[in-house]
Symmetry: C2
Subunit: 179 residues, 2 copies
């Protein structure tokens, strides 16, 4: 059998595109938000050679609870417990204050399961690639620089997960003088 | 092996999302254009039970030559001749005047290959579903009504391709008093 997207993968892609339809990235071009989650899943399939469908689906869904009205109960009913649990592992608790969430991302990274670590690495890689070429609207240069520093602290706690992704992240950190 | 999206499928999805990034649908909510091509491919996978990866990829790419700077040479180099030829079959000749293109869609529908007919049916189904709930920005009610009439003429020349899709299209035509 040739690999092909399953109908549940397509449903999850359609669901994420629909839920994120009103959101845009912070780049000056106002790229649709769904492009980011497509990038994260594509990084995993193409650059990390991941064939685990649940991981590729969770990558598509990784921001849908954090940033839209979707709930974990929705995801579990629609896509099953495995996909839902992966999304839960990569979702920040939005009831906490922003600085506390950023601190927890560093602290919690090491405790994450290996499959969820893959999604976190790919998420950081796509965000940092964006940040290399764009300063988000309303950000100062200092805020941008601090994002690289913070992202490296998170990534340092995700290491030993996927050589390709870590090499590509390190290339970026080197470029920014952080390694 | 579990079905899973291949890296070429993910690359094609990422490519289409990137190429269409500045385009929006004509609905009042300005939905990202990529949502439409995701819907068309999802309709084929979920509602028509298509497992032919090249057809699902061509559905993702079906408007990329017509509406962005992508060329058939790009598609052939990136995704191969089979996918490229399917996209060619569903691409209007933009050098022609709009009314002539609409006339040709009716005339050419019957000559299309069965795999390309699937994409045309799913494309019409997603467009008509949109049109049932939204009047596109700048359209009069009459223009909207004429779109349903024209779409039925195209669909009538695509029949005998997929029962599920044709039943769902007919439900819409019935709802609009055209059947
Ligand atoms: Mn993200
Ligand atoms: Mn279309």
């Amino acid at each position: 059998m040739t690999p092909r997207p399953s109908s549940r993968f397509m449903e999850c892609l359609q669901y994420a595109a629909h839920k994120h339809r009103d959101q845009r990235r912070k780049d000056p071009a106002q790229t649709p938000y769904v492009n980011h989650v497509i990038n994260v899943s594509t990084i995993l399939a193409v650059e990390a050679c991941i064939e685990d469908e649940a991981v590729l689906m969770a990558a598509i869904l990784h921001d849908v609870v954090e940033d839209t009205d979707a709930t974990f109960a929705d995801l579990e009913a629609l896509f099953g417990a495995d996909v839902c649990d992966l999304v839960r592992e990569v979702t920040d608790d939005k009831s906490l204050e922003k600085q506390e969430r950023k601190r927890l991302q560093i602290a919690n990274a090491a405790k994450t399961s290996p499959r969820a670590k893959l999604i976190k690495l790919a998420d950081k890689l796509d965000n940092l690639r964006d940040l290399l070429v764009n300063t988000p609207q309303g950000w100062t240069e200092e805020r941008r620089e601090l994002y690289f520093v913070w992202a490296k602290q998170v990534v340092d706690n995700l290491r030993g997960t996927n050589t390709n992704l870590e090499l590509k992240l390190d290339e970026i950190f080197r470029q920014r003088g952080l390694l």
